[in-house]
Amino acid sequence: MGHPLSSPEHARHALLYMWRIRKFEEAVEDLFGRGMMHGTMHLSIGQEASPTGMCMAMTLQDQITSTHRGHGHCIAKGADLTRMIAELLGKKIGYCGGRGGSMHIADVETGNLGANGVVGGGIPIAAGAALASKMMKRGTVAVSFFGDGAMNEGAFHEAANLAAIWQLPMILFCENNKYGMSSSTEKAFAIDNLADRGKGYGIPGVNVDGNDVVAVYEAAQAAVDRAKAGDGPTLIIAETYRWKGHSRSDKNLYRTKEEIEVWRTKDPIPKFIARVIEEGILTQEQCDEIQNEAIEAIKAAVNEAVKAESAEPSGLLDAVFKAVSA
């Protein structure tokens, strides 16, 4: 895409996608609260700038792996909103035909190799995608989105090392929202600066304000350039915060109201709006119109998805394996 401040179109894209993520998550919260969605939901309200900034440095062919808190990644990479809601509602037209749910949404056309219900599950997979890109000389990068909690999984360690020794075109993008479910980074890490871990693998570790879409984009683009030049992976630690609990049954016993209040004032969306208005790239009216556009898009998607046909159990057995062609 390009730098969010480089033109009104780019600024529009950044703001529109952050609003799309925000409104999507709010809609999911509402629908879930009404009992229309099965299971549980992991919302990323407050974290919109990170996936938006990262994906603006990527092309459609570049690949991502995502997490259980992955709606934002999927939307930022270009997923169809109707098919996403349809999946959460268990409909046939959902991305997984109702068989995967919130944590397993993938979109081949936008290079999305799938959200993952296992913490750290997507990191070695992204390394493998980067390996394939290098072997096939495709010139694409693979970005693995994960949280601070995943950095203590063996999968992170093994994948980071493989990416480093083979100089894979990969970006390890950590959304550090300070909590892996209820364990804070202070308690889960013996180091203060998570980016220092890059040194352990011999790769650059970069800190960035995860709530500043411009800063995220700049760090992301630098990492993409490095990867495409064949210089190997980068570890990006984007500091951000989630407003809502880990999942819908989270009582927030592990953090304080005050902490949540402070972070709400660092909302990435008003921050970016203030900046584009100040720099004369967009007007307040334009920004309001962009917000409405996002709201209308979500409403349309929900209304369409709700009317769609529900997934049926017939055909489940045939869905396990891909058919062997004769």
Binding site: K23, E26, A27, E29, D30, L31, F32, G33, R34, G35, M36, H38, G39, T40, W243, R248, S249, K251, I260, E261, R264, I295, I298, K299, V302, V306
Partner: protein, 346 residues
């Protein structure tokens, strides 16, 4: 612009269906900011605070502290400046299916049938252990496993035990009687001049269809029967030997009713019980050899019958129909026409 937004009882865990409103943290007219706590709720597992989704003012309180509210139903109404993502599909929601109490179907009660003739065979085992095939074989041959000596490990009855077992004398007697009856009947007709014809047909008929078709053909030939009705005897094998229940005027029954009658009579015959009314009045006999995977058998006529038909196995999709006629009543050409008519109507 102002939006009116009902804050509902939210679903807060995978299994939650209702929540109890504990108390309000706000009153009507209060200004609130996005994230402020509006009220507390409790479910069986957790108690949670419900936050304002946007900045606004409390317009009215709908539920009362202590109320148990269904998820999705309003607890209070607030007015907001910004539009809140809210989707109330109301009646379009699929109602939560009531949990159906499924009463288990009454178990089929099978009381063991006491042996009819309390004769000779000594009960050797009160409880029986037998290999699966031995059970099948014993049932087919009318052997009571309790009378069989078990020589297998752990006092289990083996195939060898069943094969060498004494048949229940009562059953053996009936079997002998049946054999004698049939043998005698065929001896009586051996001297009659007979001819047989054979045709191949598509194998898509059952006993009922076949008997009805044959009866219909015979309906046009009153000269071929001594009775006024048409009686089709169907040979059915049971543990007592061959049974020959007679189906009267099968072409005049509704095919579904005939099929049901054939099924129930077949079951009864296999257990040695054919209704007395069906034991006489045969004017022709049908023998289905396909149950033994045979294609053909020696043609024969039963006493006082001038036709008989066998159905034999030819292939997965075709069968062989063979007609035997008494040449005193039917000449060759006639016989061929009869078979033709039967095959055409199948």
């Amino acid at each position: 612009m102002s939006f009116k937004y009902p804050v509902v009882m939210p679903k807060m865990s995978m299994t939650m269906e209702t929540g109890e409103l504990i108390n309000f943290h706000v009153a009507v007219g209060d200004q609130v900011k996005s994230g402020d706590v509006l009220f507390e709720v409790m479910t069986d597992k957790i108690d949670m605070e419900v936050e304002a989704p946007a900045d606004g003012v409390i317009e009215s309180l709908v539920a009362n502290p202590g109320d148990v509210v269904e998820i999705g139903k309003p607890v209070l109404i607030m007015l907001t400046e910004t539009e809140v993502m809210a989707f109330d599909f109301g009646a379009e929601d699929e109602p939560v299916a009531a949990v159906e109490v499924i009463t288990a179907p009454a178990p089929a009660i099978t009381t063991p049938v006491a042996p009819v003739a309390p004769v000779a065979p000594v009960i050797l085992n009160e409880t029986v252990k037998a290999v699966p095939k031995a059970r099948v074989e014993a049932a087919n041959r009318g052997i009571d496993l309790r009378t069989v000596r078990a020589t297998g490990p752990d006092r289990t009855i083996t195939m060898a035990d069943v094969n060498g077992a004494q048949l229940d004398p009562a059953i053996a007697k009936r079997q002998a009687a049946n054999k004698a009856l049939i043998a005698k009947g065929i001896e009586m007709t051996r001297g009659i001049a007979q001819a047989s014809f054979t045709r191949s047909v598509n194998a898509n008929f059952d006993h009922a269809t076949f008997m009805a078709a044959w009866a219909k053909v015979l309906r046009n030939r009153p000269d071929l029967a001594a009775h006024e009705h048409i009686g089709v005897a169907l040979i059915i094998e049971s543990k007592y030997g061959s049974a020959l229940p007679v189906f009267r005027d099968p072409d005049q029954l509704k095919i579904a009713d005939l099929a049901a009658l054939v099924a129930s009579t077949t079951d009864a015959a296999k257990n040695g019980k054919v209704p007395v009314a069906m034991l006489s009045g045969a004017t022709t006999t049908v023998f289905d050899l396909t149950t033994y995977s045979m294609s053909s058998a020696t043609p024969f006529l039963f006493p006082n019958q001038v036709t008989s038909v066998t159905i034999g196995y030819e292939s997965a999709t075709t069968k062989i129909v063979s007609l035997t006629i008494d040449l005193n009543f039917c000449d060759f050409y006639d016989g061929a026409l009869l078979l033709d008519a039967l095959v055409a109507s199948l």
